[in-house]
């Protein structure tokens, strides 16, 4: 039996989605002429500004499209579901985002994305666009600490892209934008839990199997297996398991400040996310860590997967300024 989806034709789903997005948000988003999978901020790129190009597979909405807008990303290249875009639309984004001051490529650390974005960067260089790449690696569950470069990028993109976008919008130098982007990634820690799979529009079959009373801690946003599978626990126990690992890495001191993102992987409703946020706050209060701002909702999804992630973004003065810097995106509010 196929899973239920409100679609027409699985192989057309991404393009039809983009049609619907462009129709819905004409004040924020436009397509690059002739490159329908390259989406640009109407009010984004400008001369002298470092351009910010993000992108990756579809199915994570509002990531990446939702993060395109003034003060955040200038353009996003959109792939098939859970598949990196090919180099061409990335290159078109780079051209559209380029203001002559260099272009940052930022995306989650996945083999496919790295290959395609690298090919696009080479092609951009031939067009005299200097590209630098900052990979996000916020998923602390995806590799041990001594292999941080192998970690995946997940919901923490929200903060990582946000800081970089603010740095670009403030017309900082290419070096500074890159530095801030890297620093933001280093200050961002995510951990997720999955309860039920999603299904791809083309297959309409669950993309992984999980017992009716099981959860998987650390599972990736494409259903990549995590670090432990076991019986479903309470919201507090799940949140604690994630925070233990995050706090262990972050090693905060009393008086530190963070921003929080409690993110739904798709079908986990706000009620459950806010119950988790309550626990996050209890834990942070206990150790004297202050919370500067909190986002709760669907920010980095895996279609209709059930589960959630918690991201802590450790702030210093600079990162806080970047976070508070205004941005104007179609799908959410921040700054």
């Amino acid at each position: 039996m196929q899973t239920k989806k409100i679609i027409n034709d699985g192989s057309r789903a991404v393009d039809e989605m983009l049609d619907g997005i462009i129709a819905a948000h004409p004040a924020h988003l436009r397509r690059v002429e002739g490159s329908p999978r390259s989406i640009v901020a109407v009010d984004g790129p400008r001369p002298g500004k470092v351009g910010l190009v993000i992108g990756g597979g579809s199915g994570h909405e509002p990531t990446f499209l939702g993060f395109v807008g003034k003060g955040l990303a200038d353009a996003a290249a959109i792939g098939n579901v859970f598949a990196s875009p090919p180099p061409d639309p990335i290159l078109e984004c780079a051209k559209a985002a380029s203001g002559g001051a260099g272009v940052l490529f930022m995306y989650g650390n996945y083999a496919g994305d790295v290959m395609n974005f690298d090919m696009a960067a080479e092609m951009a260089a031939m067009d005299d666009i200097e590209v630098r790449t900052v990979l996000s690696t916020d998923d602390v569950a995806s590799a041990p600490r001594d292999q941080i470069a192998k970690r995946r990028g997940v919901a923490g993109n929200f903060f990582i892209f946000k800081s970089a976008g603010a740095a670009c919008d403030l017309m900082l130098s290419f070096d500074e934008c890159e530095r801030i982007a890297r620093k933001s990634n280093d200050h961002t820690y995510t951990m997720g839990v999955a309860l039920a799979p999603c299904s791809l529009p083309q297959t309409r079959r669950p993309n992984f199997e999980i017992g009716a009373d099981e959860m998987e801690i650390g599972m990736g946003i494409h259903g990549e297996p995590g670090i432990a599978r076991g019986p479903l626990q309470t919201a507090d126990a799940i949140t604690d398991a994630m925070l233990d690992r995050i706090l262990d890495e972050m090693a905060p001191s009393r008086g530190d400040r963070v921003a929080i993102l409690v993110n739904s992987l798709g079908s986990t409703p706000l009620m459950e996310l806010y119950i988790m946020n309550r626990r996050v706050r209890q834990r942070l209060d206990d150790i004297g860590v202050a919370v500067h701002a909190t986002w709760v909702g669907n920010y980095c999804t895996s279609l209709e997967m059930a589960g959630a992630s918690v991201t802590l973004h450790r702030l210093d003065g600079e990162l806080q300024r970047m976070l508070d810097h205004p941005c104007d995106c179609a799908m959410f509010r921040a700054g």
Binding site: V81, P86, D88, N116, L200
Partner: protein
């Protein structure tokens, strides 16, 4: 069959596309175990796009390099993902390996085949034993080279390549993934065949059939 014309290459790609469509669900299922369940979609989409692009060109007005390049480009643009750059690079290298030829003799074809494996390695930087499509492609290219240097006919060269690819794919079950999505799985990737290695076998089998039946 001693020379391989652009028309034969085009029909070979069309056979790959056909086989991949039939294999799509199995490949997605394999990818579902250790990856993100889309490998069959990518391969089907990619070779489907190759077939459609090649169907539009006039075989008598092209050459093998152009066929491979068009295949590379259409695969890449349809797919992205990991398989896109890997197969696109493979196909471009195949095209480069036979640059200037109007038809391919056996030696040309084996060189193109080996260039594909080299292209995948260059693009993906994976080593044999890291549980990727390399574990099918590299032994297949080596076996083809050996058989070719032994003076075997092309049919047997490709037979040898296919057998080596099958063994290589089978061997990925015993490997711990070190590249691609499944590399974060650690021990949990043991016991499962790598989907990219599985699809490499499908590609190589279809190449063999496409050439043998030409």
């Amino acid at each position: 069959m001693t020379t391989i014309s652009p028309a034969i290459l085009i029909s070979m790609f069309s056979r790959i596309a056909e086989t991949m469509a039939a294999d799509k669900d199995r490949l997605c299922a394999l990818d579902g175990v250790i990856g993100d369940a889309d490998h069959g979609i990518a391969m089907d989409l990619g070779f489907g796009a190759v077939r459609d692009a090649l169907a539009a060109i006039d075989p008598s007005a092209t050459d093998p390099t152009a066929v491979f390049n068009m295949a590379a480009k259409s695969f890449l643009n349809a797919v992205g993902a990991s398989s896109g750059p890997l197969y696109a690079t493979a196909l471009m290298r195949a095209g480069a390996a036979v640059k200037g030829k109007t038809v391919l003799d056996q030696g040309d074809f084996v060189a193109a085949f080996q260039a594909m494996a080299k292209g995948i390695q260059d693009r993906g930087k994976a080593e044999v034993g890291e549980k990727t499509m390399i574990d099918a492609w590299v032994p297949a290219a080596e076996a083809a080279g050996t058989a070719q240097s032994e003076g075997k006919p092309l049919t047997e060269v490709l037979d040898a390549a296919l057998v080596a690819a099958e063994q290589g794919a089978e061997a990925t079950k015993q490997m711990i993934a070190a590249k691609g999505r499944s590399s974060r799985l650690g021990e949990r990737s043991l016991g499962h065949m790598d989907p990219g290695a599985a699809s490499a076998v499908t590609v190589i089998r279809a190449i063999r059939e496409g050439i043998v039946s030409a």
